[in-house]
Amino acid sequence: MDEVLSRDSAAVEQLPAEIFKPKPARAAPPSTLGVQGWVRQNMFSSIPNALVTVLGIWIVYAFFDTILTWAVGNAVWEAENRRQCLDLVGRSGACWPGVIAWIPNLIYGLYPKDQVWRINLAGVILLLWALPLWLPRVQSKVQIGLSLVLLFPLLASYLFLGGEKGVIWSALIALGLAGFLWTLLTAATETISGLSFGRYAVAAIGFGGDNDPARRNGQIAALLALYVVALIAVQAMSLSFVATRAWGGLFLTLVISGIGIAFSLPAGIVLALGRRSRMPLISMLSTTFIELFRSVPLITILFTFNTMLPLFLPVGVEVNQLLRAIVAVCLFSSAYMAEVIRGGLQAIPRGQYEAASAMGLGFWQSTGLVIMPQALKIMIPTIVGNFIGLFKDTTLVSIVGLFDLLSMSRAVGEDTRWLGLFLEPFFFITMIYFVVCFTMSQYSLNLEQRLSAGERR
């Protein structure tokens, strides 16, 4: 060992060149781990970045400071009228008593106070009807969803409007009620035994025998019995008439957008299929309708229907303003929905159509069973985006004289007690709109992720 070492050192000594000296090691890079590392990387990675961070934090601080001081810190919560608020804090704080006093009007409009329970009841029914859609053991979700969209409006129309009900309307209301009862019973029986209500009833009573047609007859009998029960219940109900002029507030906003949403999806599907049809006349008519309604602003359509609908109908037929607005909103939103669905249809590869044809499916079967489910699935975010747009657009009905949430909030500042109180009600309803729209958009993102689970590896 020593020998080797000495020989090496001798060799080194022979060379005149300088000895290799390593440079001092560079400092370790800043840590990217942990809270500190994350903060450094995402907020202070360079001097400009740090400046921007400080600016951003200042903006956030200034914004929340202003809002919170106004809405909470300096706010007045109890006062008789706006004068008192102004005497207490001036304009530096919000005057919430005005909004609090108006909350019933903001939600129900001028609906008679002793009849408001009807709106609440309809809301509860809606929630109960939709609830089974989220229950894991319930299988008939498609039927429940369809019944909700198609039959709930029938039941709600009577709850909201009331008054004299003729034979046809009674039959329709009973259909709505039967649908609701069927949903509840099916949700219950499917949770217990996995059988829908009709099958469960057949199995429980034991009639109908073993063969399929007989069992089917048994199921139809069970549903008919349900309908008869509903009919009797509807006959027993008697609600006082509330004119649509008294409808208003959040309630009216939800009614208009609800009808618009329920109408625009099926109408949009029909129009989209029409536009893609190979029959020139049908395609031309659909295209004209879609393009006409998409190229003009909603407000012009609302005005048009407001002035023209009475002209279009036979002499002497009165159409109330709510109906005019609803017709305009429905036609407008179905034109937009049609384009969304057409986009979905175009995204389906040709092979799907060809495969469906090869399986011997006709047009309606291949569309209904193969193409449309896929098209609707990929378009869910856009469809929900359209619903959100529709919900926001219902504010326009305030311009043609309906008392929706926006008009009601403006009415607060015109009340003699709360004269000039604009910002507070606007702030309040902004929160309502934001919460509803934001929830819808987040839910659609969530749904999209769950539905596309099969395409992720």
């Binding site: 995402n42 907020m43 990675s45 970045n49 921007v52 961070t53 951003g56 934090i57 903006i59 956030v60 304009r91 190979r278 029959m279 020139p280 006349l281 049908i282 008519l285 393009e291 006409l292 998409r294 190229s295 003009v296 602003p297 407000i299 012009t300 005005f303 048009t304 002035t307 023209m308 009475p310 002209l311 279009f312 109908l313 036979p314 002499v315 959100i388 926001k392 657009d393 504010t395 326009l396 305030s398 311009i399 926006l406 403006r410 500042g413 604009f422 910002l423 606007f426 309803i429 902004t430 709109y433 934001f434 729209c437 934001f438 958009s441």
Partner: protein
């Protein structure tokens, strides 16, 4: 096919079924039925309308266009006097709508670009500020925002006497925004000519620099020379010609301002709300466009040693623009349509002045509705034609 396939004709019933199952026959039958329904519907509507109109003594002609309208309009871009014809009112409405649309489009594009890029920032704080700006503003109705700006901000501003002023030339009060108005004097033509020359020079330089880069790869400075060409010639001309533009300053006289340029509060509220609302959607377009360019492009540029700014300008943005521009144009169309919400705060745009005031004054529902719809249809038709041309021009050419 169906006719050939059918087994030995069992009688007229089977033959009828075979005919009915023929695709061509079906198509003709369906279309005939649809046509019949549509014609019936229109016939019903039109006959009702004619009867209603004759009962109410209304007329559907366009002859009222030459009649004096007899009402004043608060804000007009083109000259208008009380007593001008209805046709003039229509023109005033179109001009005001276009003014709102153009100003809002410019502002919302600038804002949207900033928000979209902020949304892509590496900085967590900025990214989230931009995200919540977008989420909050696009999830509240535009009409609510317009009305809140108008009633919640602009009408609550101080009276002219206590207006908020900057350097004694710009004033903000509850009658609107007062700006100094330029007054054109002799020699303005020289300035204008210089500006046009400068603009042409800037275009020429940018074109030259691009050609040179494409031919030889040499990169010439573009931004500074172009800015200089745009600013310097008019400035020099102004100095040489001896102040051809003087400013008419707004001044407080009694209870109100006189002189200067007055921008009404309704216009300010409309523009601010429209620009902010639209900037959210444009911001999201910009973000999705930039994100649509694959990361490999950035990495390849890095590997070739292209600096980050140049990567963005010359590699990412040209590819992102393909994705950004079509939805951007449809946002511009939306701005034009949304400007009709001006009616809620009394700004005299086309819908407010024509479909509301003129319709109520003249009672000519049908021609007025047709003209308004016609204008909006024309705009959207023009835009979609332009868009189709653009889409064809940016189509990726493969062999």
């Amino acid at each position: 096919m169906a006719l050939l396939d059918s087994p030995a004709p069992a009688g007229s019933g089977a033959r009828l079924m075979a005919v009915l199952n023929n695709a061509t026959v079906r198509s003709v039958v369906y279309q005939a039925l649809t046509l019949a329904c549509v014609v019936l519907l229109f016939w019903y509507l039109i006959s009702n309308t004619i009867e209603n109109m004759s009962q109410r003594g209304m007329s559907a002609g366009f002859d009222f266009l030459g009649v004096s309208a007899g009402f004043g309009i608060g804000f007009t871009l083109i000259p208008y006097r009380e007593g001008d014809t209805y046709l003039r009112v229509f023109m005033v409405g179109i001009a005001n709508t276009m003014l709102v649309a153009v100003v809002a489009i410019v502002l919302s594009t600038v804002l949207g670009l900033i928000v979209g890029l902020a949304r892509l920032s590496n900085n967590w704080v900025i990214r989230n500020v931009a995200r919540w700006y977008i989420e909050v503003l696009r999830n509240t109705p535009l009409l609510l925002q317009i009305i809140a700006w108008y009633f919640g901000v602009f009408t609550l501003l101080p009276r002219p006497r206590d207006s908020i002023g900057w350097v004694d030339s710009i004033f903000l009060n509850n009658r609107g925004l007062y700006l100094p108005a330029p007054v054109i004097a002799d020699g303005f033509g020289t300035v204008l000519a210089a500006a046009v020359l400068g603009l042409a020079g800037a275009f020429a330089w940018a074109r030259f620099a691009r050609k040179e880069r494409e031919n030889s790869g040499r990169i010439r400075p573009v931004v500074l020379p172009v800015l200089a060409l745009l600013v310097l010639p008019p400035l020099l001309a102004t100095l040489l010609a001896g102040a051809p533009v003087s400013w008419d300053m707004p001044q407080l006289r009694g209870f109100n301002f006189v002189g200067g340029l007055n921008i009404p509060p309704s216009f300010c509220a409309l523009i601010i709300a429209l620009s902010i609302y639209t900037s959210c959607f444009i911001g999201e377009n910009v973000r999705s466009g930039v994100q649509s360019v694959s990361r490999g492009q950035t990495e390849a540029a890095r590997a070739l040693g292209v600096p980050p700014g140049r990567t963005m300008r010359s590699i990412i943005l040209p590819q992102a623009l393909r994705v950004i521009i079509p939805p951007l144009i449809s946002q511009y169309l939306n701005v034009t349509k949304n400007s009709s919400l001006a009616i809620a705060i009394g700004f005299p745009d086309l819908v407010s002045v024509w479909m509301n005031t003129s319709l109520n004054q003249s009672g000519r529902a049908i021609p007025i509705v047709a003209m308004t719809m016609g204008f909006y249809c024309l705009v959207s038709l023009a835009v979609s034609l332009a868009m189709n041309r653009y889409n064809r021009s940016i189509l990726i050419r493969e062999r």
